[in-house]
């Protein structure tokens, strides 16, 4: 097991190196650079700036310099938030996004498994149709509409009640997290519901369920210890990347609810061509993703012994 994990971590490092190199090359291929601004600069002022940020060196030299610093855990200074180190940006914003993300994933998985199982049990009957309808609504309403609408509803709630029931925006205690995390988790919940329904139905027709039935096991028992357990596998598969994606934040939800998370940096850095932040966030996200995938593969093994045997080979 330990050897397996070490091996996975080793390939993980190589994956991250590939990610970093591809991103570095990609961003330098986009025309323009972070120093281009609305206001024109004399060539001289530009040279001064380039010298300060080290952009006057050849790209290949910049690459080795950057990789060297990155190995020492230094992502450099941001171009847009000029006095901040990218390390600080990640260190300060990630816990916020992660809190929000974990909460919304909790809602999403619990909801997804529950609704998915329900729709499978009541297949083609009323509960199935209602949940199906909600799911379609959940995925076809984009998150920016949903976030805006829910904020509008909170505001109206506060106005009708004449006092603050829930905060409209901002970040602090649990009351600040509730609605944003629900909004953030909704599409994942919808996805997991559908995935769960489909794999539940698949399992319902398999031989071991039939065997269990013929052995005279109660429906409840079959449902919990056979159907649910097996149906949950595909859900866990997608959970790995989902954890990485959701906990590193959502641009839309963070913007609408004024949450100081990491999500907006992924979009803004690219739009602003903020080299160091692009690299920092990408490498951080990549490492996190790789770790999560390894973790999920290990958990997978716990749930399904057949795969553990395979993996340990």
């Amino acid at each position: 097991m330990l050897v397996y994990i070490l091996k996975r971590l080793g390939t993980g490092v190589i994956t991250i190196w590939f990610i970093a190199t591809a991103t570095f090359t990609g961003m330098h291929m986009v025309p323009g650079d972070p120093l281009t601004t609305e206001r024109g600069m004399t060539d001289n002022i530009r040279e001064n700036l380039e010298r300060q940020y080290g952009l006057d060196k050849p790209v290949i030299e910049q690459y080795f310099l950057y990789m060297g610093n990155m190995l020492q855990g230094d992502f450099g200074l941001s171009f847009t938030e000029e006095n901040r180190r990218v390390n600080d940006i990640i260190r300060e914003s990630f816990p916020v996004s992660a809190t929000l993300g974990v909460l919304s994933l909790f809602f999403a998985t619990m909801g997804g498994i529950l609704w998915g199982a329900l729709t499978a049990i009541y297949r083609n009957r009323l509960p199935d149709i209602i949940i199906m309808f909600l799911v379609v609504l959940g995925i076809s309403v984009p998150s920016f509409v949903l976030a805006g609408l829910s904020q509008f509803l909170i505001l109206n709630l506060n106005q009708t009640m004449g006092r603050s029931i829930l905060p409209v925006a901002g970040w602090g205690g649990f009351e600040y997290m509730l609605i944003p995390s629900l909004v953030l988790g909704l599409s994942t919940m919808a996805y997991l519901t559908r995935l769960m329904r489909s794999s539940m139905l698949e399992i319902a027709n398999s031989d071991f369920i039939r065997t269990a039935k013929s052995k005279g096991l109660s429906t409840q028992r079959i449902f919990i210890s056979h159907q649910l357990r097996n149906a949950i596998l595909p859900v866990i598969t997608v959970l790995g990347p989902s954890i990485a994606i959701i906990t590193t934040g959502s641009f839309v939800v963070e913007i609408v609810f004024a949450i100081p998370g990491l999500g907006r940096y992924f979009v803004q850095a690219v739009a602003q061509l903020d080299y160091t932040v692009i690299m920092g966030t990408t490498v951080f996200f990549g490492s996190f993703l790789v770790l999560m995938v390894i973790l999920v593969d290990i958990i997978y093994g716990f749930i399904d012994p057949r795969i553990r045997v395979q993996a340990a080979k």
Partner: protein, 470 residues
């Protein structure tokens, strides 16, 4: 001892004719069906799937045949009908094309108050409407106020209820002796309440007067000319209706929704189909091969997931050399395909890892089935459920990605319509003109619904274990 029968037997010549070969002697009474044929039959029985097929046909008809029936140019701007809700035709008066209005300046009144003035500003009196008030313009003039250096003009759509409730600040005059204002700001045929407040630049008069003005719907002679309406000034004409309303440039939303469907359905159907297919094959192969091959293949998938999507999207557009006015749908699709497949691949691989240990796979392998056959015949059909789920979710994902890209200036070039860019624009006026968001969002929802229902039906139809269950 019963040989009587034998003895009574006498062979006939017919008994010596050889038997003809009867192929269907033990024949199956029903035709043999392949997996896909069987699936099709069961799909046809599934009411939800069939209704979803009708929905999809309807959408295609809307996209392809719709523009023939509703032949309004989707890019035609009507600046007199901006952001109008759904409506049928209206009557409008034709008026002279508004010429520049010099306004009213009182020469024997100071433009700036004398520094010695220390009294309080009084309210403006006698607001007059100059000329006829139509939706083309409203011209106002009033009496000057001593001590004023400018006047603030407000417009409201109801009678002000409090001194705070004055409505939109339309602007201000430049001097104390400029006592007129022309309002042309998106006027509707309704009553407006204009308020004029005198100010010395820092303090405002505490009292003011409000004037009610009723407007008639009118279009200018120049606009009438552009639309080939050949009527005299003063006549009334009927303007075309807009069943879905108009957008922020007065363009017909129905026509735009029809044309927008082309881009959105193209990206929303073709791209997901291709990347789910690729992801399925990739994930299927990785899961089937297992071991170190699986490991390497999945690391490549991780690599692709971790790439910053937006950056590579931009890079694609730039490196394709998409010029001004060109749509860039193809690079957008390519980028989507190249960057979005790993999700499906992961799901499929997970399923395949399970399935390949199943007994029927071992049996098939013993019977000498090769890899491709196993994948195609046994493994993928058995993993169909999750594949279909990812496919149905990939449809809105692709549509919204296009919308998001339009939002940051990487999408289709204006004035090309797409549901994504339309709802993006609509969200900005979500509360003031909800129809601009509603219609494109409705069609996105219908598309998503259709593919979800179809996915359900297909799942049931393709599930090998349900064969004969019904």
């Amino acid at each position: 001892m019963q040989d009587s029968s034998l003895s009574s037997y006498s062979p006939k010549p017919a008994d010596f004719i050889p038997l003809t070969k009867q192929l269907d002697k033990h024949g199956i009474s029903r035709p043999s069906l392949s997996y896909w044929q069987d699936a099709w039959i069961r799909l046809k029985k599934n009411k939800r799937a069939i209704s979803s097929l009708y929905l999809i046909i309807g959408l295609l008809a809307f996209t392809l045949i719709g523009p023939l029936l509703w032949s309004i140019n989707p890019n035609l701007q009507d600046l007199d009908a901006i952001s109008q809700g759904p409506s049928f035709s209206k009557q409008a008066l034709i008026v002279e094309t508004p010429a520049n209005w010099g306004g009213v300046t009182i020469d024997n009144f100071p433009s700036q108050p004398s520094p010695n003035f220390s009294g309080l500003l009084s309210s403006t009196e006698q607001i007059e409407i100059v000329g006829q008030a139509t939706t083309q313009y409203v011209r106002l003039s009033w009496q000057p106020v001593e001590g004023a250096s400018a006047y603030l003009i407000y417009r409201n759509d109801h009678i002000p209820e409090s001194p705070e409730d004055l409505g939109l600040p339309l602007g201000q005059t430049l001097a104390g002796n400029q006592v007129s204002f022309e309002d042309r700001l998106q006027l509707n045929a309704q009553a407006y309440y204009y308020t004029i407040i005198a100010t010395d630049g820092f303090n405002e008069a505490s009292t003011f007067t409000t004037q009610q003005v009723d407007l008639t719907l009118a279009i200018s002679a120049r606009q009438a000319d552009l639309r080939n309406i050949d009527v005299e000034v003063g006549a009334t004409v009927s303007l075309p209706g807009h069943p879905f309303g108009t957008d922020y440039l007065g363009r017909d939303m129905l026509a735009r929704t029809m044309y927008g469907a082309r881009v959105s359905l193209f990206i929303g159907i073709i791209a997901p189909f291709i990347f789910v297919l690729f992801g399925t094959l990739y994930g299927g192969l990785a899961g089937y091969l297992g071991g170190s091959m699986d490991n390497y293949m999945m690391r490549v998938a991780d690599f692709v997931i971790a790439l910053p999507f937006l950056l590579f999207m931009i890079l694609f557009k730039v490196s394709f050399g998409i010029g001004p006015g060109e749509n860039g749908i193809i690079p957008m699709m390519l980028a989507l395909i190249l960057l979005a497949w790993p999700g499906t691949a992961r799901v499929v691989r997970g399923q395949v890892l399970l399935i390949r240990e199943a007994d029927y796979i071992q049996a098939a392998r013993l019977l000498g089935a090769n890899t491709f056959y196993l994948l195609y015949r046994h493994i993928i059909p058995n993993a169909m459920g999750p594949i279909l789920v990812t496919l149905t979710f990939a449809v809105p994902m692709a549509i919204f990605t296009e919308a998001f890209l339009s939002f940051i200036g990487m999408g289709v070039a204006p004035p090309t319509a797409s549901w994504g860019s339309m709802s993006n624009q609509g969200i900005r006026n979500m509360l003031s003109s909800p129809h601009e968001l509603f219609f494109p969002a409705l069609f996105i929802s219908i598309t998503v619904l259709a593919f979800n229902l179809l996915g359900d039906g297909l799942r049931d139809a393709l599930d090998t274990r349900m064969r004969g269950n019904e």
